[in-house]
C-alpha cells in the first residue's frame, strides 16, 4: 500500500491538472433551497441562493448599505413617485436584453397570485414604463423606504416566463411547481446548470455578466446535508468548502482542525407564535374556546420560558435573548424596551389559574428541525419549561419542506419561527409579523393572526412617515402595544455561524445572505 501511494498521488494529480483551471466551490447547508423561483417563498436561504442568479433593482453592499444593481440610480420625483433608471446593456442568461418591460412584468408577477413577495409589492400602486430603460413606481402613500424593500425582488424575463408558462409564481404552500421552480433565467453573476431537488444544485459563472466579479469562483455545487455530524464531517474531510450553519457544539472542533469559523450577530429574531384567531384551537385539549385569546395565557407562556438557560445551554452562548421582535442593528430598535419579563414559573402558574386553567392544558406545537440554529432543541426546551406550569406540549418537529407549507396554511396552534427584516427596518416586522393578515400581503407571516387595530394603524403611518423622529415614536408605540399584548413571544437573535476551508475567503452579511460573487478560493494543494 505504501509503495502505491506516490503512484496514486501522481495519477490523481495528472487527472486533476486539466480541471484545475475551473475553480469549484462546494457549499453545504442544512436544508435545500425550496425552489429556483425568486418569488415563490420569502425565506432567507431561498432568496440568498436565488440572489446569485436573479438580481434586484437595488442591492445591499457588504456594509448592508444600498448599492445600485439593475437600476443605476433612483430618485423620488414626488412623495409617492420614484423613478428608477435601469442599467443599459444587461442581458438575461438566454441573451434577451433586460428592459423596462421586464421590470413592469416582474412587479406584476410578484404582486399576483401565488407570490410570497406580496408584502413588498403591497404599498405599490403602479409600476409604469417611462422609457426602454426607465420605470416609475408610484406608491399608494408616501413610502420613504421603498428602495430598501426592493433589495430581494429578483427581476425576471417577461419573454422567458411567457414562453415557459411561468407568468405566475407557484404557491409553495400548495406544494405545486412549474418551470421556474426548476429552471432559471436571471441576469446575475451565476447561471443555473443543474437542479436536483434535495440532492444538488449546480451554478456556473455567467461570463456575460454586466458587473465585475470580485471573487474567482467558476462553479458552485450546493448540497443539502441535513445531519449535523455529517455536515461537519464533510467539511473536515474536505468534501465541501463552505458549510452553514455550524452546529454550535462543533465550533471548537472545527477551529481546532485549523478551519475558519465565521460568527457574527444575525438580524434574525427567533420567536414563538400562537393562534389567536380560531375560536377553538386545532390542536389542543381545550374545547369550545381558544386559550391563546386570553392575554394572561400568553403572558404565562412568556414568563414560563427560561430564555437565559436556553441561551447558555441550547445555544451555547451564541444568542442574544431579546424582548423585542427586532435586533439591535435594525432601524427602529428601542434599546430601553429590550427587556424580557422575568422568568417566573410561579407567576406564570398563577396567571394560568386566573385565566381558568389551574391545571394547565394540552397544546400541539410545530417546530422545524433544519431551519434555524438548534431549532428542535429550543422547542424541546420550551416544552420542558411549559411542563412546569402544567401545560403539556405535544411537540411535532419536522423538516422545513413539510413545516413551512403547513404553518403558512396556518394549520398550527403554537409554532416557532425566525424572521429577518430584509429591509433592515422595523416596518418590515410591523407589516409582515404584527399587522392583521389581509389578502394584500399585510401580516403575511403573522401566522397566529395577532390583531390589534392600533398596531395596524401605526403600521400604515410608519410606512409613509418621512420624519425620522416621528416615525421612531410610532414604531415605539406599536412595539409597546405588541409587547403588552404579548402578540408573539420573542426568544433571541441567533448568531450566524459559517465554517469554511482555509482556502476560502468570503463576506458574511448579517442577514445571512451568501453571495458567491464575493467568494475567493485560493488554489489549495490537492
Amino acid at each position: 500500500m505504501k509503495a502505491l501511494a506516490p503512484w496514486l498521488l501522481a495519477a490523481t494529480l495528472s487527472l486533476a491538472a486539466p480541471l484545475s483551471e475551473a475553480i469549484t466551490l462546494r457549499v453545504a447547508n442544512q436544508g435545500d433551497v425550496q425552489s429556483m423561483d425568486p418569488h415563490s417563498l420569502n425565506e432567507s436561504l431561498q432568496l440568498s441562493f436565488t440572489g446569485n442568479v436573479y438580481e434586484s433593482l437595488v442591492e445591499r453592499g457588504k456594509d448592508m448599505g444600498l448599492t445600485p444593481a439593475l437600476a443605476t440610480k433612483w430618485t423620488q420625483t414626488s412623495p409617492t413617485v420614484w423613478r428608477f433608471d435601469l442599467r443599459p446593456n444587461v442581458k438575461f442568461h438566454d441573451g434577451t436584453p433586460f428592459t423596462a418591460d421586464d421590470v413592469v412584468f416582474t412587479f406584476k408577477r410578484a404582486a399576483g397570485e401565488g407570490s410570497d413577495m406580496k408584502g413588498y409589492t403591497n404599498p405599490i400602486k403602479e409600476v409604469r414604463k417611462v422609457g426602454d430603460l426607465a420605470v416609475e413606481i408610484e406608491t399608494t402613500a408616501p413610502y420613504p423606504i421603498l428602495p430598501d424593500t426592493l433589495t430581494t425582488l429578483g427581476m425576471m424575463s417577461k419573454k422567458w416566463c411567457e414562453e415557459n408558462k411561468a407568468e405566475r409564481p407557484v404557491d409553495r404552500r400548495k406544494g405545486i411547481e412549474n418551470t421556474a421552480s426548476f429552471k432559471s433565467n436571471g441576469t446575475g453573476p451565476f447561471r443555473l446548470k443543474e437542479r436536483q431537488p434535495s440532492v444538488r444544485t449546480v451554478l456556473v459563472k455567467n461570463f456575460n455578466w454586466w458587473g465585475k466579479s470580485e471573487g474567482n469562483i467558476d462553479e458552485v455545487v450546493f448540497t443539502p446535508i441535513g445531519n449535523d455530524a455529517t455536515r461537519v464531517a464533510a467539511l473536515l474531510s474536505g468534501e465541501v468548502d463552505v458549510m452553514e450553519p455550524v452546529p454550535l457544539q462543533d465550533v471548537e472542533r472545527i477551529k481546532a482542525a485549523g478551519l475558519n469559523v465565521l460568527q457574527g450577530p444575525e438580524l434574525r429574531t427567533i420567536f414563538l407564535g400562537m393562534d389567536q384567531k380560531r375560536d377553538e384551537l386545532q390542536f389542543s385539549s381545550v374545547k369550545g374556546k381558544n386559550p391563546f385569546k386570553d392575554v394572561r395565557v400568553r403572558r404565562a407562556f412568556y414568563q414560563a420560558i427560561d430564555e437565559e438557560t436556553i441561551k447558555s445551554r441550547v445555544m451555547r452562548g451564541a444568542a442574544s435573548p431579546t424582548g423585542e421582535m427586532v435586533g439591535a442593528a435594525v432601524r427602529g430598535f428601542q434599546p430601553d424596551m429590550n427587556k424580557r419579563p422575568a422568568y417566573d414559573p410561579d407567576t406564570a402558574k398563577k396567571l394560568l389559574a386566573e385565566a381558568g386553567y389551574p391545571n394547565g392544558f394540552e397544546v400541539g406545537m410545530n417546530c422545524p428541525n433544519d431551519r434555524y440554529v438548534n431549532d428542535a432543541a429550543i422547542c424541546q426546551a420550551v416544552a420542558a419549561n411549559l411542563a412546569r406550569i402544567g401545560v403539556k406540549v405535544n411537540l411535532m418537529t419536522e423538516t422545513k419542506v413539510t413545516y413551512f407549507p403547513k404553518i403558512l396554511r396556518r394549520d398550527t396552534s403554537f409554532y416557532l419561527l425566525g424572521w429577518t427584516p430584509i429591509t433592515v427596518d422595523s416596518h418590515d416586522v410591523l407589516s409582515s409579523i404584527m399587522a392583521t393578515p389581509t389578502d394584500k400581503g399585510q401580516g403575511q407571516f403573522n401566522l397566529g393572526a395577532y390583531s390589534n387595530a392600533k398596531v395596524d394603524e401605526l403600521t400604515l403611518k410608519v410606512q409613509s412617515e418621512t420624519d425620522q423622529k416621528k416615525r421612531n415614536e410610532m414604531i415605539r408605540e406599536a412595539f409597546r402595544i405588541h409587547q403588552e399584548d404579548v402578540g408573539h413571544i420573542p426568544l433571541h437573535q441567533q448568531a450566524l455561524a459559517w465554517a469554511t476551508a482555509k482556502s476560502v475567503q468570503l463576506t458574511q452579511l448579517p442577514n445571512n445572505y451568501m453571495y458567491f460573487k464575493w467568494i475567493t478560493q485560493k488554489s489549495s494543494p490537492k
Binding site: 455530524a229 462543533d250 472542533r253 447558555s312 445551554r313 441550547v314 432543541a377 424541546q380 420542558a384
Partner: protein, 317 residues
C-alpha cells in the same frame, strides 16, 4: 427428542412434575455446563428486568418534562470530571439522564422486537404448517411467495413499509406508529418460520401418529394444531430467540434512519441517531452507551439462541 422439547418450551409452567423433569433433563444439564449460555442468559435477563421495570427502578423519568433541568444538560458520566453521581451515565442536551433513558429505550426496543417476532411467528408458523401439511399447489404457491420475499433484502421491505405507513398516517399517534414498525419488521421475518415449519411438517405428516389420527377421523386443522405443531416447535423456538435479536436491530436501524417509532417514545436506535449528532463535539456518552446496550442485548440473546440450537439438536450432542 420429541419428549424433551415440549417441556423445555413449557418450562416456565409451574407444574412441579414438569419442572423436576426439566431439571433432570439434557437441556438443563447442557445449560449448566455452558458458561457462555449462563452468562448470556444472565445478561439478557438483566436487560429484560431493567427494561420491564424501568418505571420503578430508573433513577429519573426522562419523559416527564417537568422534572428536566436544562442547566444539567450535557453532563459527562459520573466518573469523569464534571459528572455527578446524580446522573451515572451523563445527560443529553435536554438534561435527560442517559441511564434512565436507556432503560426506557430498551423497553421500547424489546417490546417492538418481541411483538414483531410474535407476529411473524404466528403468520409464519400457520402458513408453514398449512403449506407442509396440504402440499401440492398450495405448498408451491406459499413457497414461491417465500422465495419472492427472500429475494428482497429484509431491511428494504421494512423501510418501504414503514415509509409508506408514515406517509399514509402522517399524524399517527404513538400506538399506530408502533403498529406500523412492528408490521414492517414482521413482514420480512415470517418467511424463516414458514420454511422451517414446512420442512418439519412434511417429515411429521408421514409419521404413524399422524396417520393414526387421520384414520380415526380427526379433522385436519386439529391434527395440525394438536399433533403436528407441538412436534415442530423445537426449531421455531431456536429461530425465535435469534429473530428477537434480529428484530431489535432492525427496529434500531429503522429508528436510526428516522422511520421507526415516534420520536416522543424514543428507542435505542433513536438515541444512537440523536447521539450521532454530538459525536464530533466529544459527547461520546450519548452514542456509545445506547450502542453498547444494543450490542449487549443482541449479543446475549444470540449467544443464548446459539446454545439452545445446539442443545436441542440431537446430532450435535
Amino acid at each position: 427428542m420429541r419428549r424433551d422439547v415440549a417441556p423445555a418450551a413449557l418450562a416456565v409452567a409451574p407444574a412441579p412434575g414438569r419442572w423436576a423433569r426439566f431439571l433432570d433433563g439434557d437441556v438443563w444439564h447442557s445449560f449448566r455446563g455452558s458458561p457462555t449460555a449462563i452468562a448470556a442468559a444472565a445478561v439478557a435477563a438483566l436487560c429484560l428486568f431493567a427494561a420491564v421495570f424501568a418505571n420503578v427502578i430508573a433513577p429519573h423519568d426522562p419523559f416527564n418534562l417537568a422534572t428536566l433541568e436544562l442547566s444539567d444538560s450535557m453532563l459527562p458520566p459520573a466518573w469523569m470530571q464534571g459528572g455527578t453521581t446524580k446522573y451515572l451515565l451523563g445527560t443529553d442536551e435536554q438534561g435527560r439522564d442517559v441511564l434512565s433513558a436507556l432503560m426506557f429505550g430498551a423497553r421500547i426496543s424489546l417490546f417492538v422486537g418481541g411483538a414483531s417476532v410474535l407476529l411473524s411467528l404466528v403468520i409464519g408458523v400457520s402458513l408453514g404448517l398449512f403449506s407442509g401439511y396440504a402440499g401440492g399447489r398450495v405448498d408451491a404457491l406459499i413457497m414461491r411467495i417465500c422465495d419472492v420475499m427472500l429475494s428482497f433484502p429484509s431491511i428494504l421491505i421494512a423501510l418501504l413499509f414503514a415509509g409508506v405507513g408514515h406517509a399514509l398516517f402522517p399524524n399517527a399517534n404513538d400506538l399506530l406508529a408502533f403498529g406500523v414498525v412492528i408490521v414492517a419488521i414482521a413482514l420480512p421475518g415470517w418467511v424463516q418460520y414458514a420454511r422451517a415449519v414446512r420442512g418439519s411438517t412434511m417429515v411429521e405428516r408421514h409419521k404413524e401418529y399422524v396417520q393414526a389420527a387421520r384414520v380415526i377421523g380427526v379433522p385436519p386443522w386439529r391434527i395440525m394444531l394438536r399433533h403436528v405443531l407441538p412436534n415442530v416447535m423445537g426449531p421455531v423456538l431456536v429461530l425465535s430467540t435469534i429473530q428477537v435479536a434480529v428484530a431489535i436491530i432492525a427496529e434500531a436501524t429503522l429508528s436510526f434512519l428516522g422511520v421507526g417509532v415516534s420520536p416522543t417514545s424514543p428507542s435505542l436506535g433513536t438515541f444512537i441517531n440523536e447521539g450521532n449528532k454530538q459525536l464530533f463535539s466529544g459527547a461520546w456518552w450519548l452514542v456509545i452507551f445506547p450502542g453498547a446496550t444494543l450490542v449487549l442485548i443482541a449479543l446475549s440473546i444470540n449467544l443464548f439462541g446459539d446454545w439452545l440450537r445446539d442443545a436441542l439438536n440431537p446430532r450435535l450432542r
